[in-house]
């Protein structure tokens, strides 16, 4: 099959950027959008041009490195699926597809489709961790964590850190990502021992970088890890809990 691709080109963060239109031939519906970009880059390179920069790594939906807007939708047309698993079969032969970098106030464009998502890392650096020195942990079997709690914690822990939620959000909010981490760690006994402090600093860091949430609910429609919308509730729950108790735990 063949696609016309309108792809965003931007040399440096300071550039304005523009769309470039190319045709990519000899595609298979089973290829992913990223593989289509690989092929397009091969064409560009062989013509002596500058290939389109985009990020990806595992190509199996777990590392969170990939992320582009396909027809203005984070990752692509198939809901809850990362870009590396978005198949060309979603498009018709000959269709025009627009490909852009993730858009958000927190994501400056580095080059072409590659954006800087370090704001997500900074939020984790601030408080998304647990203060336990290696070797000092108690026996993991002595903490009885019920089956359901462990499963629920895992539902939230599944976030792959792709940042698509922010790109989808009309407010540029990272509350789905933030809430997923706060929820996950609040459910496990040892990590929960600093949940108040964690909520405080993570939110403070996030406030600097991301917008607030108005519950538009779009984040949960694109999240490749299928983080449920209720994750958002944990943001204020954990923060209010901290404010009301005035304690670190």
């Amino acid at each position: 099959m063949k696609l016309t691709v309108k792809v965003w080109r931007q040399g440096t963060p300071a550039d304005d950027g523009r769309f470039e239109t190319r045709t990519v031939n000899d595609l298979e519906p089973s290829l992913s959008v990223l593989e289509m970009l690989d092929k397009m880059n091969d064409d560009i390179v062989k013509e002596g041009g500058d290939p389109v920069t985009f990020e990806s790594d595992c190509r199996e939906g777990i590392c969170g490195a990939c992320g582009i807007l396909v027809n203005r939708r984070p990752h692509g047309p198939t809901p809850l699926t990362p870009a590396c698993h978005q198949r060309l079969s979603s498009f018709n032969d000959g269709e025009t597809v627009t490909i852009e970098p993730f858009r958000s106030g927190a994501y400056p464009v580095v080059k072409d489709l590659m954006v800087e998502r370090s704001a997500l890392v900074d939020v984790m650096d601030a408080g998304g961790h647990v203060q336990v020195a290696a070797g000092t942990a108690p026996d993991a079997d002595t903490d009885r964590i019920t089956y359901d709690t462990a499963e629920l914690a895992l539902d939230f822990a599944a976030c792959i850190g792709c940042g698509a939620c922010v790109a989808a959000c009309p407010n540029g909010s990272a509350n789905l990502y933030l809430g997923a981490k706060l929820a996950h760690l609040s459910m496990l006994p040892i990590p929960a021992s600093e949940r108040g402090m964690r909520a405080d600093v993570m939110l403070a860091e996030a406030d600097e970088r991301f917008g607030p949430c108005s519950l538009h609910g779009e984040c949960a429609l694109v999240c490749p890890a299928n983080i449920p919308l209720v994750a958002i509730s944990y943001v204020n729950k954990e923060r209010m809990r901290c404010a009301l108790r005035g304690k670190n735990d």
Partner: protein, 265 residues
Amino acid sequence: MAQETVKKPPVRTLPREGRVTGADDILLERGRIGKAGGRIERVRPSNWSLKVTAAMTGVLLALFVTIHMVGNLKVYSGPESFNAYAHWLRVVGDPLLPEMGLLWIVRIVMGTALILHIWSTLLVRYRGFKLRGGGSKARLHGGSFISRLMLTTGLILMVFVVFHILDLTTGQANSDFQAPTATDSFAYENLINSFSNPLFASIYMVSMVALAFHLVHGLWVLATDLGVTALRTRTVWKAVAHLVALVVALVNLSIPAAVLMGVVS
């Protein structure tokens, strides 16, 4: 063909001193572009406190419109009953409180709530607008249809409240307005006067549609802002939110409609 298009640029070498236009050098040294992590500069008031303010004031406002709606139902039991109710509002609390004492307390509380509500929600939307990033985003359909209308419906409500007070409380907007006296209220007559004017009636009706939308999402987002995570509570609350919003708006809407159709006069 391919050979021809390959333009051989002058021999390239790696830059000895790297620089990226539009990026902070100190961060670039560590491989990053954009804002530093580092020390947290707290944004004040924080987003969560704004949201909690919006939610708390939203609760008050929603309670007010619900109770007000119940009072408005008295329209259907005739002028005496409605006027008596309006009068009662002014004297309730007597003799403990001076005349209109409780009314003023409510006015002050609700006025503050409304101001806080408007302030917090507008600030929330402004911050979101600033950080959403360039480019237009596709509209997905995550219930965001109503949520995106919050600002519009909110502004309609703001204008409505001002208009409504000028119309039925202070009377500047209502040419035949009869101010209440120490012993009597003419709320019923004022209301019929106002709603008999199709323009006024339709302003009310449009506003009530806005109110329905605003409440549907407003009451739902409340649960999230107040940190309700239990799935069953959330499901029940969502249903309640829709129900309350519809009932309040429909009952209110029925009054101008009834006046227009002559059912109440």
